[in-house]
Chain length 141, copies 2
Amino acid sequence: MNTVKPIANTLFTLMQSYRVTIRKAINANELGLNAMHVRCLHIVATTQRCTANDIVNQTQRDKAQIARLIKELITLNLIVKCASEEDKRRFILSFTTQGDVLFSKLLEAEQQVNALMCKNLTPQQIKDFLSVAAMMSENLK
Amino acid sequence: MNTVKPIANTLFTLMQSYRVTIRKAINANELGLNAMHVRCLHIVATTQRCTANDIVNQTQRDKAQIARLIKELITLNLIVKCASEEDKRRFILSFTTQGDVLFSKLLEAEQQVNALMCKNLTPQQIKDFLSVAAMMSENLK
DNA sequence: CGATATAGTTGATTTTATCAACCAACTCGC
DNA sequence: GCGAGTTGGTTGATAAAATCAACTATATCG
């Protein structure tokens, strides 16, 4: 029986270590944040006038799940929603001051983990790595 | 607000594409197999005299979850368990003929996806990619 | 030999995700 | 302008996945 170890195993191991390290760094357990919460925060941070629908589209997840995640983030006082002037059905999501603080902490943790990951690697190695990964991703579309 | 895009995003996108492509290739939905089933199959295939406890240790998951996954794989007639002679508490897991067939199909699908991922990349690029990934993983330990 | 540890099983519960239905607001063709 | 169809978001119900807890049989060790 062929037991060749595919590329995915290597990447899986890497992503698993990454997740564990980040969660520890932002105290995710105590804050009650899971991976999807974090992904939502990233999207709120990077999408102009972010709506629930933007998150649905970018995560390819169910509307109900996203609505619940948003509600939880609002309850945690990390984001607020205000009515859109252009379309009364939609709400614009933005960070609270507390949310800003937490997201900054998250970014800092991510950058520290990035730096740790890249120890003993040259900028060229990292650049090559990223471009290969991007091409692989593109090859799968 | 700093919105630097970390390495993890690139990898996340790649892993997501990989998962979707593999699942399609082995008809995971029809077979009722999820990612954890597949991981268990991989571990059964690569671990001599594999026991439930081996899977628990390698996946760092709860005993109950692994027991249930194993039970499901047995129900699907993909694996069997027989008593260990050395220790009456444990069972040795192995593939059925049908399980062999499915796992071969899984490996083939993985190799095809690997090949697709690596299109237009040189062996050296892939080798570098893997060694960088492995070093990153090692850096996070 | 008895206390403690371990492998596996199962019940109960929690967490996460999905399906379904709904309402308000918007769009578009007539 | 109007009505049928579409869209954005909410909530109930349900399914799937994961975790916690308790247990029994077996093994280990002082």
